[in-house]
């Protein structure tokens, strides 16, 4: 990586008119936990600190700790992107089920339109929504996570949650619109494949209600591939919306990572990547457990 964290701080101090002595340099090096020893020794020290929950000191929010900075940003991203992902998954799967069930219906013909939403760059969609809903008709705010000017403090008060929902509506709408088409298409195609299986014919021949054939026989089997896709996208919830957060100046992980990268803040970058990797692993674990609930065949083995 070009650039050195210590140099960045020292140039900032120099710019602020402070005197910089070799002692200052050494003090900053020690404070940032780097400097001496071969790389494996430094890496060992990093892992040892990690085991104590110490991720180092952030440069962007100096002298805040990395864990504190990430802790502040994480709930925003998880709430916004997590909720939006779940909503678009549920709506997409529901619509896909009906589109596959009634092939050639108006819903089925809608699929190319939703796929077009998917091919749209989602930050561009965000710009369009901002233009229409915050500039032409001024219904929604331009940027931010909540109403900063009203003196609200982040917490679980009704007012704050309401404000956060209001500010989060446009970013969430962007994510839902741009991801719903993929779920819908995948589910629709799996429904079509499943509906031509023999057991569906059997179920119909037994005279079961169409709604029962649709949900318990067809949809339950057709949803399985989408579920593993859902695991991957849940894992990428933390990482996936960097550009959207940038457009809306949303105080989440994406913006944090971007400011870390543009400021050579390695400790913060490592921390963010750690959180991203952990969330991918955690989401996969959760869906593996969920898979066993939905598909009994995987339990038997």
């Amino acid at each position: 990586m070009p650039g050195n964290t210590v140099d960045v701080i020292i140039s900032k101090m120099g710019g602020a008119g402070q005197t910089v002595t070799p002692q200052t340099r050494h003090a900053i090096e020690v404070a940032l936990g780097g400097g001496s020893g071969p790389w494996w020794q430094q890496y060992g020290a990093y892992l040892a600190n990690l085991a104590h929950g110490d991720l180092g000191v952030s440069l962007v929010a100096y002298p805040e700790k990395v864990s504190t900075v990430i802790g502040q940003a994480l709930p925003w991203t998880i709430a916004l992107v997590g909720l939006a992902t779940v909503i678009s998954f549920i709506i997409g799967i529901g619509l896909g089920t009906f589109a596959g069930w009634k092939r050639g219906s108006w819903l089925d013909n809608l699929i190319p339109v939703t796929t077009m939403f998917q091919a749209v760059p989602y930050f561009w969609l965000a710009l369009i929504l901002l233009l229409l809903l915050s500039r032409v008709v001024q219904w929604f705010p331009f940027a931010g996570g909540y109403d900063v000017n009203s003196g609200l403090m982040p917490g679980f008060s009704l007012q704050f949650v309401g404000s956060a929902l209001y500010y989060g509506f446009l970013p969430a709408l962007t994510i839902v619109l741009s991801s719903i088409g993929g779920w819908m298409l995948g589910m629709r195609n799996m429904m079509v494949s499943t509906l031509s299986e023999d057991y569906i014919v059997t179920a119909e021949a037994k005279g079961l209600k169409p709604s029962r054939v649709r949900m318990t026989y067809a949809a339950r089997n057709a949803v399985l591939p989408s579920l593993s896709g859902f695991a991957i996208s849940l894992g990428f919830v933390v990482a996936g919306s960097i550009v959207t957060e940038q457009v809306f100046s949303y105080p989440g992980i994406g913006q944090l990572l971007f400011s870390a990268v543009s400021n050579n803040d390695y400790a913060l970058m490592q921390g963010v990547f750690l959180v991203i990797s952990l969330s991918v692993l955690a989401a996969n674990l959760v869906v593996d457990v969920l898979y066993g609930l939905i598909d009994p065949r995987t339990r038997a083995r």
Binding site: P112, P121, F123, W124, S193, V280
Partner: protein, 325 residues
């Protein structure tokens, strides 16, 4: 005499219609979806090739800032510094498509290498390749691209480098699918037969296995292009894209930097996104048709046909009444 002439005339007329050539059988049947997709895609590709030759200089600055579309020969208005948006889009489309196609080729080659080769050779090589693929798959793409993009100094960040970075992060998903398909193909009887008859490994791979993978790879290639164009746009929008060249993403970046949104200069940022959206839509429409080749179940509406076999409620009641007697 007369009969031979008639025969000679007949033969070429009958031959093409009697049997479709094997190549034609691979091609998708023409559906409205496919035709619309091909036409939009072809128009945009053609525009990317011809457009930059006919428009004016995209960098030319004039005093006409934020001019509305149509003023003084500026078809799509001007930017903050009076540059012509229309010519910028022509160059930007070319840049974006170059990235899209080169990423598509690179990602397809990489996924074929790791997916097909590993699965065919089997054993430790397969295990190693599969593990590597899974590791790459879990690495979040965009954050990694951002870090790599920031690592390279701005003046050496060309179109090709951005394409390589996007290709590295986009092949893994396809490789996994290709591996699964190859694993099922390599144990088919005809592959075993050609192995027993002493065909060389590369010949089995290229002649026996690869043709069966072509529809899957074609669909992945199309997806890789969409992914790359979108990824490049996102990267450029953050200011980490290729420098010195126009892509649709850099136009959006500049528009955002110059606060085109708050200025209400919609003609600056709506058209570039629209080009991406249209091209992506065209590619998805083409992909629908490829999907129907891979999965014939998607082709004919099996269930609605079956519905016609069923009995109407009135008939069922009548039958039940007869049974009860």
């Amino acid at each position: 005499m007369a009969s031979t002439v008639a025969l000679d005339d007949l033969e070429p007329a009958v031959a093409p219609s009697a049997k479709r050539s094997s190549l034609a059988a691979l091609l998708p049947t023409m559906s409205p979806k496919l035709i619309v997709g091909l036409v939009i895609g072809a128009v945009i590709v053609l525009w990317a090739i011809v457009g930059p030759l006919v428009v004016g200089d995209p960098d030319a600055i004039s005093t006409l800032a934020f001019a509305h579309p149509g003023t003084r020969g500026h078809l799509l208005g001007t930017t903050q510094t009076g540059q012509d948006v229309w010519s910028q889009i022509a160059w930007g489309t070319r840049g974006s498509l170059i990235i899209g196609f080169s990423v598509g080729v690179m990602a397809t080659v990489l996924s074929a290498l790791f997916g097909v080769l590993g699965a065919y050779i089997g054993g430790a090589v397969d295990e190693g390749f599969a593990l590597f693929t899974n590791v790459v798959l879990v690495i979040p793409g965009l954050p990694l691209v951002i870090v790599i993009g920031n690592y390279v100094p701005q003046n050496s960040r060309g179109l090709f480098l951005v394409a390589v970075v996007l290709a590295i992060t986009s092949w893994a998903g396809s490789a996994r699918v290709l591996r699964a398909v190859t694993l099922s193909l390599r144990n088919r009887d005809y592959v075993s037969a050609s192995r027993v008859s002493g065909e060389r490994t590369w010949r089995i791979l290229v002649v026996e296995i690869l043709p069966n993978l072509i529809p899957v790879m074609a669909s992945q290639f199309v997806f890789a292009i969409i992914f790359a164009i979108l990824g490049e746009a996102g990267l450029s929008f953050l200011g980490l894209g290729a420098s010195g060249t126009f892509t649709l993403g850099t136009i959006l970046f500049q528009a955002n930097q110059a606060l085109a949104l708050t200025q209400g200069a919609w003609w600056w940022f709506i058209p570039p996104g629209l080009v991406i959206a249209l091209f992506g839509c065209a590619l998805s429409l083409i992909n629908f048709s490829i999907d129907e080749i891979i999965n014939p179940k998607l082709r004919n509406s099996t269930r609605s046909q079956r519905k016609k076999w069923g009995l109407s409620p009135a008939q069922i009641k009548q039958l039940e009444a007869e049974n009860l007697k």
